[in-house]
Assembly symmetry: C2
C-alpha cells in the first residue's frame, strides 16, 4: 500500500515544478490527496495526506493548499454552511451542485455554453473576471429518501 495515491506517481512533482513550487513530501501528498478526493474538506485532506506522510502538520497542509490555490493547481470552493473544500479540476469552466440534505457536491458544466456566465446584465461598473455558479437541490439518494 501507501502508493503515491493518484495515477501519476511521477507526474505530481513535475506539476509542482512547472507551477514554480518546490517539490516536498507534504506538497506531493496534498496534491495527490486533492486529485484523489475531489471536493474534500480540509480535514479529509489532512487525513489523506497523512496516509503518505504520517507526520504532516495541519499547518503545512493549510499552507500547501494556499500555495497550490495561488498557483492555480487546485481550486478552493466554499459552499455556504460548509467548510472549505478543494478540487483539482481547474482550467475548464465548470460549476457545482450541492445537495441541501447531505452536502454532497457534484460537478456540472456551464449551463449556457462556455463562459457566458461572465456577462451580467448590469455590472455596476465592476470589472468582472470570473463567475461561480452554485446549484442547490437534492441528490438522487436524498430525493428518494424524502419521497419515501
Amino acid at each position: 500500500m501507501t502508493t503515491t495515491s493518484a495515477g501519476h506517481p511521477e507526474g505530481l512533482p513535475q506539476l509542482l515544478r512547472e507551477a514554480g513550487l518546490r517539490v516536498t513530501q507534504p506538497r506531493v501528498a496534498v496534491l495527490g490527496a486533492v486529485r484523489a478526493h475531489p471536493h474534500a474538506d480540509t480535514d479529509s485532506l489532512i487525513a489523506a495526506a497523512r496516509r503518505d506522510v504520517p507526520e504532516v502538520s495541519h499547518q503545512a497542509v493549510y499552507d500547501v493548499l494556499g500555495a497550490l490555490t495561488r498557483s492555480g493547481l487546485v481550486r478552493r470552493i466554499q459552499p455556504p454552511g460548509s467548510v472549505a473544500r478543494y478540487e483539482a479540476r481547474v482550467g475548464d469552466n465548470h460549476h457545482h451542485v450541492v445537495c441541501r440534505s447531505c452536502g454532497t457536491i457534484a460537478d456540472v458544466d456551464c449551463a449556457v455554453g462556455h463562459a457566458p456566465c461572465l456577462t451580467a446584465s448590469d455590472d455596476h461598473g465592476f470589472t468582472i473576471d470570473e463567475a461561480e455558479v452554485v446549484y442547490r437541490g437534492l441528490c438522487p439518494t436524498c430525493a428518494a429518501a424524502a419521497t419515501a
Copy 2:
C-alpha cells in the same frame, strides 16, 4: 436620530406578523437594520440594531437572523473569505458581484433573463431548485486604484 431606521416605521411589525413571527423590539430593530444596510455582516447588524435597542445581545441577533432567514424575510449570503452577510431583497432572482479587493457587494440581475440559471447541462440526477451566481472582480474604486 434613533429613528426606527427604514422607511416603514409601522410596516416592520406587520411584516413580522405576516411571517408568523412574534413582534419584539429586537426583531423589529434587526429587520430594520438589514433593510437599511444591504449586504451587511453580522457585526454591523448588531451595531445597527443596538442604535434602536441598546441592550440586544449578540445571541438575540443571531437568533433573529436565523428566524428571519427561515421565514424568508431575509437572505443569508456567505461570500468565500468573508463572514456571513444578510440582505432583505428576497423573492426576485438576483445575484451578486463581490470585489476581490475591498469585499464590497453589489446586486446584479440574472444574466440571461429570469431563471435559466436553473438549467444545468448535466444535473447528475440532482433535483435542482435554486441557483446562486457569484461574480468576482474589482469594483470601480479598486480598479482605479490598481491602475493608478
